[in-house]
Symmetry: C2
Subunit: 148 residues, 2 copies
């Protein structure tokens, strides 16, 4: 299981939610249009996010989804794993039947270390961090355009 569009869309969707004031709700339709994500697909993804307790769903007219936690307290890894399940690298498959696949062979061990590498980056970055970075990028971009 790897990082796929589903996970990516999940992060983009939550970024959208988190940009509003705390507790603000947004409809799938809105988010889907603004972030250019297929509506039904996004709906499914938000269901996973709801199950994981990252967002709360409000049904009926005037309903939508709302963030449950503070964006500073949500790591990108959390979001991605909520959508995709545990992200795991290629399980190795050595000749020996001894390799129970948890540090049983050298290749397994290496993959685990590699995994920790990516998880580190994704855990350290919170949803809020991501949004701030984006804002910074946007403003420097706007500045460039203004000058150009």
């Amino acid at each position: 299981m790897q990082i796929t569009r589903a996970g990516e869309y999940g992060v983009l969707g939550l970024m959208h939610l988190a940009r509003g004031h705390p507790g603000q709700r947004a409809m799938i339709d809105q988010v889907s249009r603004q972030e250019r994500i297929p509506k039904s697909f996004l709906a499914k993804i938000f269901q996973s996010l709801a199950k994981a307790g990252l967002v709360r769903s409000i049904r009926g007219s005037g309903g939508g989804f709302a963030l449950v936690k503070d964006p500073a307290d949500i790591s990108v890894l959390e979001i991605i794993e909520a959508v995709e399940g545990r992200i795991v690298f290629q399980r190795c498959k050595l000749a020996q039947p001894d390799c129970e696949h948890v540090g049983g062979c050298a290749l397994c061990g290496l993959f685990e270390r590699a995994q920790d590498g990516i998880k580190g980056a994704l855990t350290q970055t919170s949803l809020r961090d991501l949004i701030r970075q984006q804002e910074r990028i946007n403003s420097t971009l706007a500045e460039k355009r203004g000058r150009g």
Copy 2:
């Protein structure tokens, strides 16, 4: 593009080659049987490794494949990328058409950092390291069995 069985098999195949004396050749058939990798699939993988210059192919009877470089000078990343092509995380797809996908948006940037995390681990480990680790694992395993 991600790390798949093909890459894993490539590493296992080269580990097999590297365990012999320097320059030793091995046939696909051999490697395939001993490492329990489907023969035709392994053949295709070794073709990629040959193209990348990691192994040399000798055709005809008595032929096979032989390592070109010293196992200490081959990183696991090299092997995997030889087989799978550049490993790249989910390219992000922000709403703005500005996102040229090279550090153009925050999510891209994050994915790049995560990528560097795994590449670090895979670059630092050489084929020789891997084999040594495996030997260590095997011997402690044998010891356990002897006592048990």
